[in-house]
């Protein structure tokens, strides 16, 4: 019954190895014998890395931390899919029971101009931090708040805001988009805050600044193919992109009206 099959798999890995940001990289093949079906994908890599170290080689670098699908550190392409074959699952939550004996697994880093490769499967996603710092917040200093229940928030709004806020910032949306667009990431934060009464005051500047920063970072345009949402481990909805477009439009209209008003 419970607690795993105890079965082992013999796999081949083709892994992107790249020493540093300025080096060129290449795929290298490794044998991965006797991988337990119950281990996680990253534990399988730990095992390979242990062997590499003992053979005086450098282990494969990849970002990871919580190993429970919440910190957003992990993420790379597995057989062409961001985070691998399972829906709503980060690499760290992916278990080897989802692979077949004898399979070859191809692993490469997120590919996007705005996410330069640091080493092997690690990329630099600090562009996301800069998008947030451009406006992804509500301007309230510590100590200013009214009682938390002073403003009731209808549950549907609160739930929708929460769903948008569950983005873990892993970058799978960018990596899976043929244009390397960051619309899903940016729009999730825009919607989260615009849906809440506290967030409405700054909604126009927020969306303008965040989108300007997103463009400045070199992310591509959105052509509404939807692969971002399909590959998102948290299932962030495309509705957020629609909402962000409405927010942008509303902001543009506001600006136009303000300009017209000035002219009177």
């Amino acid at each position: 019954m419970s607690g795993g099959s105890g079965k082992n798999l013999n796999l081949k890995l083709k892994v992107w190895r790249q020493k540093g940001p300025k080096d060129s990289g290449a795929f290298v093949e490794y044998d991965a014998p006797k991988v337990s079906e119950d281990s996680s994908f990253l534990e399988m890599l730990d095992q390979i890395n242990d062997r590499l170290v003992l053979k005086n080689e450098e282990p494969i670098s990849f970002d990871h931390d919580c190993r429970e699908g919440i910190c957003g550190s992990c993420g790379f392409m597995i057989n062409g899919n961001a985070h691998g074959p399972m829906k709503n699952t980060t690499v760290c939550q992916l278990h080897m029971r989802n692979f077949k004996d004898g399979e070859t697994i191809l692993m490469e880093p997120w590919r996007a101009t705005a996410f330069p490769v640091i080493k092997d499967l690690m990329v630099d996603r600090s562009a996301f931090d800069r998008i947030i710092s451009a406006g992804g917040y509500i301007s309230v200093d510590t100590g200013n708040a009214a009682d938390a229940n002073a403003t009731p928030i209808p549950k549907p709004d609160a739930d929708a805001a929460f769903s948008a806020a569950t983005c873990i910032g892993c970058g799978a949306c960018v990596a899976s988009c043929k244009n390397a667009s960051a619309m899903l990431f940016t729009s999730a934060k825009v919607s989260h805050l615009a849906l809440l009464p506290q967030g409405k005051v700054e909604r126009h500047e927020r969306v303008d600044h965040m989108v300007a920063q997103m463009d400045a970072e070199g992310f591509g345009a959105c052509t509404s193919t939807g692969t971002c949402s399909a590959s998102c481990p948290k299932g962030i909805s495309l509705a957020n992109i629609a909402m962000m477009n409405r927010e942008l439009l509303a902001s543009a209209v506001m600006k136009r009206e303000a300009a017209a008003g000035d002219g009177i």
Binding site: M1, S2, G3, G4, G20, D38, S39, L42, E43, D50, L52, V53, L54, E57, P59, S61, D63, D65, C66, R67, E68, I70, C71, G72, S73, Q93, H95, R97, I118, K119, M122, S126, D129, I132, S133, G135, G136, Y137, S139, V140, D141, T142, N144, A145, A146, A148, N149, P152, I153, K155, A158, F162, A165, T166, I168, G169, H192, L196, Q198, G199
Partner: protein, 638 residues
């Protein structure tokens, strides 16, 4: 001998200590604030909230984290919730009750005044987080929702589905990023603090390794805040994220900060059991599950039947049996110990026999599957991903795992360590939870420290201390940089035969066996023989490949493991010296029928250890604890 530890608890009645103290504290005038720099190491709830608030006040803040982004700090993983004495449920909660529950829950080994302040500011935390847009769970009427957590009989826990930590952290992170945008906070990500710099007796800076380039950098400031999290990873397998380490705190300890109650660790009762040798970490299942799940094992030893085949009268719902008034919501230390007894008695379940059931059958029958899915859906999914079993149909299998560390750097009421100018916030300090932390209280404490305590006490320190200018060219910086570089070169040169992880796992096994849920004189002495040998072997036989001048995760881990080994030894000494059982510290010799037997006569104190250099063992100092409000009593949940 008078204690050299001055906790600086303000006078007056407990309700007004914090208020009065805030009024008595000196202020820095707004124009002067920007001339002062504060280093904040760590961007979890404690660090991000401190950096944001200090930035808002006008200080120049330098924020450091080992992560790629501040948002990835380990606080992000907290699931269950955050306590606050709002009494929105009108169920009898109050600041006083939260204070009382926390002191009692900590088995009377925390400082009353600190705990009271924590309970007082808890309500402001919720207000502030909601104002920031943190989407806490709400009822249909639009008001905030609450649930109950272990060790309390009121519903005071606020939550955001199973992602409370993530949502609170994103709130603090956004607030901090807003200050980054305003150029109040400079962000230094992927930097690991490897030493503290003390100049003329005051903390004046840190040495960090840039994890991308390997460069060793010096940073100076007028004060340093460590908010670097807990050290459960000393056990190798724990619920903590992989990068959680004691290194920052340990280096500060070696520079003069006392380490308090290192043996006070929390073993969380509901974690997914270990499944194999290659396992790298353990996954917590939120304590909130015990609101509806019932814990049981078969009454008979070695009963290998499928759980659905075991009728009710052949099941032992042992928490409900032993603790009728708290039942499945008994506090963590108590629930973990009972799980251990069940397994030790041969009644454990699952393939390894090292697990107990957490069963939702009755809750699903009572409330329906959709209601259970609404409350716990994501936790059930997480469980299924890991184990391949569906908890709507088969009871979850659970076993305790290391989770949280109540011990940490000693701090006074102002959260200042024994090194002037070094402040410690969040899980990294020893503070408020005594010998056992109640669920949903760590998030509360981290944010209390960062948003509401540190900004006040740092201002007071800066306003009342003569802080001379210092540059990173100062000898103390040079010496610390050299020490860091020497250690790195030394580790890289060993080129031995064992991986870093193999040492970490061996240490973890020693700690789990001898300094885990049960501790004994003989076991601790054995550990104290094994650990120095392990340390010796580490420094002669560890193998690190690659180079030190670029990304090298093996080198990073090696530094952390070296510090864990030293900490492990101190934990065992602390556990050996504390000849009583209290909270999570269970000395097998001191018990009443399996319940912890405290010794208030001899051990009603904090043990704070002073470092004496490599050659001499640490000295144990005492801070006596007095209980003027909650009377010392045997803790009972029966």
């Amino acid at each position: 001998m008078a204690s050299i530890l001055d906790s600086k608890i303000p006078g007056g009645p407990i309700e007004s200590k914090w208020q009065n103290h805030k009024f008595d504290m000196k202020l820095v005038n707004p124009a002067n604030k920007r001339k002062h720099t504060v280093i904040v190491v760590g961007t979890g709830l404690a660090g991000a909230s401190a950096a944001a608030s200090l930035g808002e006040l006008g200080y120049k803040v330098k924020s450091f984290c080992v992560h790629e982004s501040p948002r990835r700090a380990h606080s992000v993983a907290a699931q269950g919730g955050i306590n606050a004495a709002k009494n929105y449920k009108n169920d009898g909660d109050s600041v006083y009750r939260l204070f009382y529950d926390t002191v009692k829950g900590g088995d009377f080994r925390a400082r009353e005044a600190n705990v009271f302040r924590l309970a007082q500011v808890s309500t402001q935390i919720i207000d502030h987080c909601v104002a920031q847009g943190v989407p806490l769970a709400r009822e249909y009427g639009g008001l905030l929702s609450n649930r109950s957590f272990g060790g309390a009989q009121v519903s005071r826990t606020f939550y955001a589905r199973g992602q409370t930590g993530q949502q609170l952290l994103l709130g603090a992170y956004s607030a901090m990023m807003r200050q980054v945008d305003k150029k109040q906070v400079d962000l230094y990500a992927r930097r690991e603090m490897l030493d503290l710099v003390v100049v003329n007796g005051k903390a004046r800076g840190i040495i960090v390794r840039n994890l991308l380039t390997g460069a060793i950098e010096s940073h100076e400031a007028d004060a340093v805040v460590l908010a670097t999290g807990g050290y459960s990873n000393v056990f190798f397998l724990s619920t903590n994220a992989m990068a959680c380490a004691v290194t920052a705190g340990w280096k500060a300890h070696k520079r003069g900060a006392f380490f308090a109650n290192p043996c006070f660790t929390q073993i969380h009762p509901t974690c997914i059991p270990v499944s194999g040798e290659l396992q790298s970490k353990l996954t917590l299942m939120s304590e909130s599950l015990r609101n509806d799940g019932r814990v049981w094992v078969p009454k008979e030893k070695g009963d290998k039947r499928h759980p659905s085949q075991i009728p009710d009268d052949e099941r032992d719902y042992y928490l409900e049996r032993v603790y009728p008034s708290f039942g499945n919501l008994a506090p963590r230390d108590v629930a973990s110990r009972q799980a251990k007894y069940a397994v030790d008695s041969g009644r454990g379940v699952g393939p390894t026999g090292v697990a107990v059931y957490l069963d939702f059958r009755d809750a699903i029958a009572r409330l329906g599957k959709p209601a259970i899915a609404e409350k716990y859906g994501n936790l059930f999914e997480m469980y299924e991903k890991i184990t391949g079993e569906n908890p709507y149909e088969i009871p979850m299998r659970m076993y305790p795992a290391p989770h949280y560390t109540m011990g940490g750097l000693w701090v006074d009421y102002d959260l200042q360590s024994t090194i002037p100018g070094l402040f410690v916030a969040g899980e990294a300090n020893f503070s408020d939870h005594g010998a056992n932390r109640l669920g949903a209280s760590a998030l509360m404490q981290g944010l209390a420290d960062g948003y509401f305590v540190i900004p006040n006490t740092i201002s007071n320190y800066i306003a009342s201390t003569k802080i001379e200018p210092v540059a990173t060219t100062n000898d103390a910086f040079k010496a610390a940089e050299d020490a860091v570089k020497t250690q790195i070169v030394r580790m890289m040169m060993i080129k031995g035969n064992r991986t870093v992880d193999s040492f970490h796992k061996e240490l973890g096994r020693i700690m789990w066996d001898e300094c885990g849920m049960g501790r004994s004189d003989a076991g601790l002495k054995k550990a104290l023989e094994l650990i120095p040998k392990l340390k010796d072997e580490f420094w002669n036989n560890v193998k690190i490949t690659g180079e030190a001048n670029y990304v090298n995760p093996e080198l990073e881990k090696a530094g952390r493991v070296a510090d864990f080994i030293e900490l492990g030894e101190l934990m065992c000494r602390d556990a050996l010296e504390r000849k009583e059982s209290c909270g999570g510290h269970f000395r097998e010799e001191y018990q009443n029928d399996g319940e912890a037997k405290r010794d208030d006569e001899n051990f009603c104190h904090v043990a704070a250890w002073e470092y004496n250099g490599d050659k001499k063992p640490q000295t144990r100092h005492k801070e006596e604890l007095t209980f003027e409000n909650v009377h010392l009593a045997t803790r009972s949940y029966k």
